[in-house]
């Protein structure tokens, strides 16, 4: 399943004034992997995504995607190269239907053989929203909005999909369903996936490997079984944010 290195991040650093949000972070992602990004609130997970997708420029370091340098590229160009993301808070296009939302994701791509609208319908179906094409997004449940976000991201034809806390705010049943969906998309289309989450049981089962961040630094890069006992990860979670033993794998 694991192939060549698709993403190579080296010495990535971002400062906001005196705060070092991402500090000298280096890691690789290989084709077909599902890589988890773990860390307490404020560890720099979302900032890392914003750097990878061009939403904010890094101060130092390099981001190589399939051999090309992403640093300094505009977000929409990075998307066209095959790096797509979702947002932590769902950000659908309010005032538009489910189908229109997904269709927007198809517009920056060359017209697929079946046409853009048919492609958008396929994606809506693929994420389990069949029958809801004409629904206004604002009346959807949070879980469905998450699926919509994933459909919109898939519409851009990504090779690497970056999910930002896809399980946040969902019930345990919804988490299991969404986790199964991510796994299915991953196996069906051979996507490489990164996902940010806290230490959830489902999350640990889903990922092949975990990158743990704390105060902007990469503190561990290992398989899930070893991450949960990694001394620096345990230390990072000590206190109020300590992992719930019942939720651990």
């Amino acid at each position: 399943m694991r192939g060549a290195t698709v993403l190579q991040v080296a010495n990535l650093t971002k400062r906001f004034g005196g705060l070092v949000a991402v500090n000298d972070v280096s890691f690789d992602v290989r084709t077909g992997e599902i890589v988890g990004v773990l860390g307490p609130n404020g560890a720099g997970k979302t900032t890392l995504y914003n750097l990878l997708t061009g939403f904010i420029p890094p101060d130092e370091g390099t981001i190589r995607f399939m051999g090309g340098e992403l640093r300094g590229m505009a977000p929409h160009k990075i998307v066209r190269l095959g790096v797509s993301r979702t947002f932590q808070l769902c950000r659908p296009f309010v005032g538009m239907t489910v189908l229109e939302n997904v269709l927007v994701g198809c517009l920056a791509q060359p017209v697929p053989p079946q046409g853009r609208e048919a492609r958008a319908r396929e994606l809506v179906e693929q994420v389990g929203l069949a029958g809801k094409e004409g629904l206004a997004v604002e009346v959807m449940s949070y879980g469905d909005q998450r699926r919509l976000e994933i459909a919109r991201a898939l519409a851009t034809g990504p090779k690497l999909l970056l999910l930002d806390e896809p399980f946040a705010g969902l019930g345990s049943g919804e988490i299991a369903d969404l986790s199964a969906l991510i796994r299915r998309i991953h196996t069906e289309s051979g996507l490489t996936v990164m996902l940010i989450e806290h230490k959830l049981h489902e999350f640990m089962k889903l990922v092949d490997r975990v990158i743990a961040l704390d105060f902007g630094e990469l503190i561990a890069d290992d398989v899930p079984e070893r991450i949960v006992t990694h001394p620096r990860v345990v230390e990072a979670y000590i206190g109020g944010a300590a992992p719930d033993p019942q939720e651990e794998a």
Binding site: H76, S84, F93, G95, M96, V104, G105, L107, Q109, T156
Partner: protein, 312 residues
């Protein structure tokens, strides 16, 4: 919204009524009012394409209107070009203004675009006064030639322009381009995450919007046979924005109705003298307060809905 069927019947009825009114009443005053209404409608629909669809409000549409009108004025009176050069030239000049304004400000989030447009129109008005030797100052440029001698024919020319512009902008709004503009209104970051170059779409839409407003400005110059710095005034922009709000933002056809309604209302209230502006303002506030989605477009949709129910 996006894939609604085009309401051809409604459009034909509207055009027929607008075309027959001056024939029935044979009244020069009415023809004049309708001509002005059609010109305001051109300005309102052009505002709606950029600002209505993307939600980036342009508080200086008068910049494009005035630029178009002065282009017509200079070409026709100073350099002696035929009046028919005015419209294409005005569109080019207004487009240049749109690029000049859009390029630095539409890349930024926040109110910079709205404020820059507002300031630019005010600055242009001042420049017209400062360079009075060339621009005629407060008096403006007089002696602009009429495009068409017959007032009725000129009205039909203006109405035809309005119909073409509205049909064209409706086509844009219903295309993928329109979908992108509405997505920009929804969330710019999500658009970027969808791989769209939002700055390009915003600037290009402003150019289209500005070019059409400039064309309207040139038509206005050839109707008034005169241009004055008042065209650049903030009140021109606010009037256009109000027409869009009354008509129903982002519907394209709504602002046409809003413009005609408000121009007619202004004429009806002329007898009230000093009270006119106040009554006008109260009517506006009531509409904005109680009908935030506008007046014309929602009422029209409800009317169509009831027709559909009774006939089926």
């Amino acid at each position: 919204m996006f894939r609604d069927k085009i309401d051809l019947t409604g459009a034909v009825v509207f055009i027929a009524v607008m075309a027959i009114l001056p024939v029935v009443f044979k009244n020069d005053y009415l023809i004049g009012v309708l001509t002005v209404a059609a010109i305001y409608a051109i300005w309102a629909v052009s505002w709606d394409l950029m600002s209505g669809l993307t939600g980036r409000e342009n508080f200086g549409h008068a910049l494009f209107i005035g630029a178009g009108a002065y282009t017509a004025g200079f070409l026709n009176t100073v350099w002696g070009f035929s009046g028919w050069w005015s419209i294409p030239a005005a569109m080019i000049v207004a487009s240049l203004f749109a690029v000049l304004m859009g390029f630095p400000t539409l890349r930024l989030k926040g109110p910079y675009f709205a404020l820059a447009m507002l300031s630019a129109s005010v600055i242009m008005q001042r420049l017209m006064l400062i360079f009075w030797e060339y621009t005629g100052g407060e008096e403006g440029i007089n002696g602009v030639e009429p495009l068409i001698d017959s007032q009725l024919s000129f009205y039909y020319f203006t109405l035809a322009t309005l119909v073409i512009v509205t049909a064209g902008l409706l086509a844009v709004a219903r295309s993928n381009w329109g979908l992108i503009l509405r997505a920009i209104r929804g969330d710019e970051a999500t658009c970027q995450a969808a791989g769209l170059d939002i700055t390009f779409y915003k600037i290009a839409s402003l150019v289209i919007s500005g070019a059409i407003a400039g064309a309207g400005g040139a038509i206005y110059a050839h109707y008034q046979l005169q241009v004055s710095p008042a065209l650049f005034e903030v009140v021109t922009s606010i009037t256009v924005i109000t027409m869009v709000y009354v008509g129903g933002m982002a519907s394209i056809y709504g602002p046409v109705g809003g413009a005609i309604l408000l121009v007619l209302l202004t004429e009806l209230l002329r007898d009230f003298g000093e009270w006119r502006l106040m009554i006008y303002s109260v009517v506006l506030i009531l509409i904005l307060f109680f009908l935030p989605r506008g007046f014309i477009a929602p009422v029209w949709q409800r009317f169509k809905g009831s027709l559909g129910r009774s006939s089926s």
